[in-house]
Symmetry: C2
Subunit: 473 residues, 2 copies
């Protein structure tokens, strides 16, 4: 465990003490090739078989339905490709929710580029996939549906049981990405395939789980070999697999109690952050959610600067802001939810998180946000700035154009916020921006501020877009 508060459990956890012990033991006894008939090989085989029994029990499947892969990503890639290939006669349509992990969306992209069809099912503002929306997306040509058990960025739990019923009625297999929830308990019944990742529950990296129910058509991508039922080629990583299975069992033993404890801490964060920091939106379902994860976005703040400010205070957190990513596009999850992305912070508390560390975080947050905001926007009302000019097309006074071209998130929203006071109620601000986050954050700002979002239109020949906002209060 880290010496200082680490609040990025959803990204990766340090090794659980049980995993550490099991790893050490299995490195002694489980290094040989389990396919060999000699003593060392048989010993390795026994360890592998026992680990599969343990993990299968935690997943809720038969041992012969469970394959160990080299990562959760690999489990998802193999599961999606294998189920699609196995159902190729049924059709080539893959249905995924819009908030799946990038590993699923990458698999979907590969399927689309190979000539397959992909339908994305949207979510509500809480990030929830409606079973009715999945039902509406199913067609005669649907080969597979992929839905996560809980979202990795905002913590919203998906109604897997109800979605499974919809899929079963249509005769379509359902793959559940259980990476974020498996530590907390088995996935609701009805899934056909399930994928997970050991380092998310304190197991070692290098281990994913892929369960495929008996009777589900499955054709793994070539090349394969004889290992892991032909579903995961290459020498088995037995020490890591043993550690993964042992730690999954261990975290399950304390999961209910720890979930209740962390849920209280997260409730506290959800309640206090909006009180402590102005202009904050807490996102994700407030009730049907992972116990340890909370996400909020701060208006007028740069997500990356906020991460660094919190890191300097000793808090490791994550962010789905575009400001922190190399792709310059905001999180697809926040985009699908239609919520603010700027100044986004995700806290995911590891088991054992101390209440005082959460209090310390709450004490440090307002200062961190204020310092980041101060670097971008002077707290006092700004004088007229060259970038805010009367819009000649609408007549000076009740229309302004804010030229934010070339400026990155959150500058366009900050300039909009400053300009809104310069038009009368009923007046219109047009923000010109070529930043991808603006498409998400300007409407989100309007919703938070009670102003009217008037839509967007192309601006010029470049990537610029004109966003229109009508002042209504």
């Amino acid at each position: 465990m880290a010496d200082v508060p680490y609040f990025d459990a959803a990204s990766s956890l340090p090794l659980h003490p049980v995993a550490r012990q099991a790893l050490a033991a299995a490195l002694e006894d489980g290094w040989a090739d389990p396919a060999r008939p000699h003593r060392e090989g048989r010993r390795a085989r026994m360890l592998l078989d026992a680990a599969r029994e343990t993990a299968a029990e935690a997943v809720g499947c038969r041992p012969d339905e469970l394959t160990f892969t080299s990562s959760g990503t690999r489990a998802l890639h193999t599961g999606v490709a294998g189920a699609l290939a196995g159902r190729a006669r049924a059709g080539r349509r893959l249905v995924v929710s819009a908030v799946e992990h990038s590993a699923v969306l990458h698999a979907a992209g590969a399927h689309r580029d190979a000539g397959g069809e992909v339908t994305e099912v949207g979510v509500d503002r809480a990030g929830r996939v409606a079973p009715e929306a999945v039902a509406a997306a199913l067609g005669d040509d649907t080969a597979l549906v992929c839905v996560q058990s809980a979202n990795h960025e905002v913590g919203t739990r998906q109604p897997v049981g109800a979605i499974a019923s919809v899929c079963r009625a249509a005769g379509v297999p359902l793959l559940v990405d259980a990476a974020q929830s498996l530590a907390w308990g088995p996935v609701e019944d009805g899934w056909s395939l399930l994928a997970a990742s050991a380092h998310k529950w304190g197991g070692p990296p290098g281990v994913g789980l892929l369960a495929v129910r008996k009777g589900v058509r499955f054709a793994p991508a070539r090349p394969v070999d004889e290992r892991e039922s032909g579903r995961a080629a290459g020498f088995e990583n037995i020490p890591a697999v043993v550690a993964a299975a042992a730690s999954l069992r261990a975290v399950r033993e304390t999961a209910d109690a720890e979930a209740a404890r962390l849920r209280t801490l997260v409730d506290r964060i959800r309640e206090r952050v909006p009180e402590l920091v102005p202009d904050v939106e807490v996102v994700g379902d407030p009730v049907r959610r992972l116990p340890h994860l909370v996400t909020f976005s701060c208006l007028y703040a740069d997500g990356e600067a906020l991460l660094y400010a919190l890191d300097r205070e000793g808090f490791a957190v994550s962010s789905g802001s575009s400001c922190t990513s190399s792709t310059l596009t905001p999180s697809h999850v926040l985009r699908a939810m239609g919520v603010l992305s700027e100044g986004n912070v995700r806290l995911s508390l590891p088991p054992g998180t101390a209440e005082e560390d959460v209090e310390r975080f709450l004490a440090a947050l307002p200062g961190a946000v204020a310092s980041v905001r101060a670097a971008l926007a002077p707290p006092a009302p700004a004088p007229a700035r060259p970038s805010v000019v009367p819009d000649e097309r609408e007549g000076a006074g009740d229309a302004l154009t804010v030229d934010s071209l070339g400026k990155r998130c959150p500058i366009p929203v900050i300039e909009l916020a400053k300009a809104i006071g310069r038009v009368p109620v009923g007046g219109v601000i047009t923000v010109l921006s070529d930043d991808a986050a603006a498409r998400l954050d300007i409407p989100a700002w309007c919703a938070m501020r009670g102003q009217e979002y008037g839509g967007e239109s192309p601006h010029g020949d470049g990537p610029g877009t004109a966003y229109r906002v009508r002042r209504v209060s």
Copy 2:
């Protein structure tokens, strides 16, 4: 290390002490996501970068040419597929040697089934791939050549430098599977891609290396992500990667001295086994070979029974006999070499193997082989058996047909050996067999016994084949 002699190093090695230390340290500091900007993520990133530097130095490439994969098999699959896809415009022909690891042959099979062309280059009786044979196989449509640095079953080193020259002259990239040799030193210059596997040198399982030289066209199979230059999707296994790199550097420091020591032990085995055990063929190149690996085959012996007999004596060895495999086909390596496969035993000595353990093995071997042979063939000349009948088509006395249909390796060869004395010199034995090993072992027996192999022809409508042997001494 195992308490008792473990002579299956080529299959897998226990964790090197340096790997164990590095793994423990990196589990403390390298569990976080290296893509995260927080302190834990940066620490993980530094460990990953340092491991890449270390491993690249041992491979003899730039760090940015080196990718960590989840296994040697995965490195080969990714390397073959990526190089073929990158060279798709040049052509769709893949040239592989006939003695490559099954991971390469599986990749080749997948390529063939996807519409590609595969040319297998044969080997001589020592298992050596001739550069001239590679040159002859190259065509205008050749996209990639794959050759191992040394063979995993018989230890023969391939002339990689000369083969690389041939490939370079033709403008075709060369992928070298260095799994068996990388612990002993860098691969000869000239390769374009290189693959290896950490558990072969005492690194942990779960780590493969894939090096792709700058300038080599490479298009990894979808789906990919941002990790490992888009060549190995999924969360990096940093603790294992750190341990792999540290142990590779450590084994290299003692590689020359240890190679000289093990070479002496292997020389001793190569010399003594044929003296101690009758009817043995030592296979593989006696000079250009791995220092720690020796393989021999025992006439009239069941390979699986021999493994178990040696295991009971405390010796863990391997075998390429069909008698030990679930596929019922003899090792493709021995088949390509055209050498005896029955009663096959591979010894691969781990670093540190004690001379007295080798002597103990040599002391135990004759009894083990004798006991296995005794269970199959009575040592005294057998009386006339119902399965040996005068061949009416050739006239009784100088022609016999041995009906070994339905009998597994090594029974057909044992029955042939018993029957040969029942025809006069010049007489012909016809062995009917439906066992795949007979195709290899009957000609090999003829070569060892100085009898004339007369070829094969189909027998009946089933899988049976008639093998003809003329007694010449």
